[in-house]
Amino acid sequence: MSWAAHEIESYFLQKHIKARVSYLAILLGCLLPDFFTKLPVYGLNIGNMTILKAEFPAKYHRGWPGVGPTHSLLFGVLFALVVLWITKSRGWALGLLIGQWAHALTDIFDSVGTMLFFPFTSQHYSTGMWAYAAQAGRYGDAAAYYSSLGGVWDFMWLILALTGIGVFSRKFFVDTVVPNDDVWPWMKRKFGMSERAMLVVYRAYFIYGACRIFAWFIWARLDGAPLDWSWGGPYWVEKVSFPAEDWGNWFTQTGRGVVGLALALAAIWWLVGRRLWEQANPK
């Protein structure tokens, strides 16, 4: 799984999307797939008691049966559709969709990957760039992630976000972020927030994401975790993966998934999506 990339990618995406879209929705979409699913993956412990813990974290987190469908492309579409129906806001629906898809696609880089085309196929899509190690617990996973190409991946997202440093400016916030989302004026009215406070709320997830990369990376070095920047590393952690039986099976499953998703998207658009979109507010 990606540790800090999900917090940072929202800023990068926002910079490159030309449509009117809510930044807060992109951020929420980026966090959505792991929002209610992470706790049982690492386990909830009170004292010596484990209250909540998935028996097989990788299967629970990314597979089926489990909550793996939260990392599928169709889940993002359905969630965005519900939000479009409730809020009548195109900017929020689109933002959530973009954020959730970004999360699902970013997570294909670890060894477990995601079931992008669920429910049409439960095939996992993975490049195997670094080892999925959530079964080692939160700290074991952090040590493995920040000793592998996973950590490099986070640094890459940090650099990508910094290449568009203008998105963090007061001017960008006032001229682009606020006019695209009615939530900001609402927050100002409701909580009496100053411009400085709203600006730091906007920047907070980037700063948190960046600090998280450095803090966990330094901690992993102090903990003595050996660095291994080979593909699929680190070598010292048990790597979980769900590969296809063979390439023939992979292509069959992928074909079924792509056709199924395309037909489902067309049906959703013609049956409800188009009507909801036309009735919605452009913001």
Binding site: E7, L31, R138, Y139, A142, R170, K171, V174, V178, S194, E195, R196, A197, V200, V201, R203, A204, Y205, I207, Y208, A210, C211, R212, F214, A215, W216, I218, W219, L222
Partner: protein, 63 residues
Amino acid sequence: MQAEQTGASRKAEVLAYVFAVVTLIGFGVIVRTPILNFVCGPAWVIACVTLLTPRFEKVLNRT
């Protein structure tokens, strides 16, 4: 909405951001999950900047 910032105000805000970054990394290495989670981490940044900027501003104006 956009308010002009004075030199001292801008410096104070930058100082507050730097403080938030340094302390978040420092505490993060030591206490890890209790601060490096998606609620406390951003809340720490927001609290540092909103609470410390006016204080730093006062000190800078005095000096």
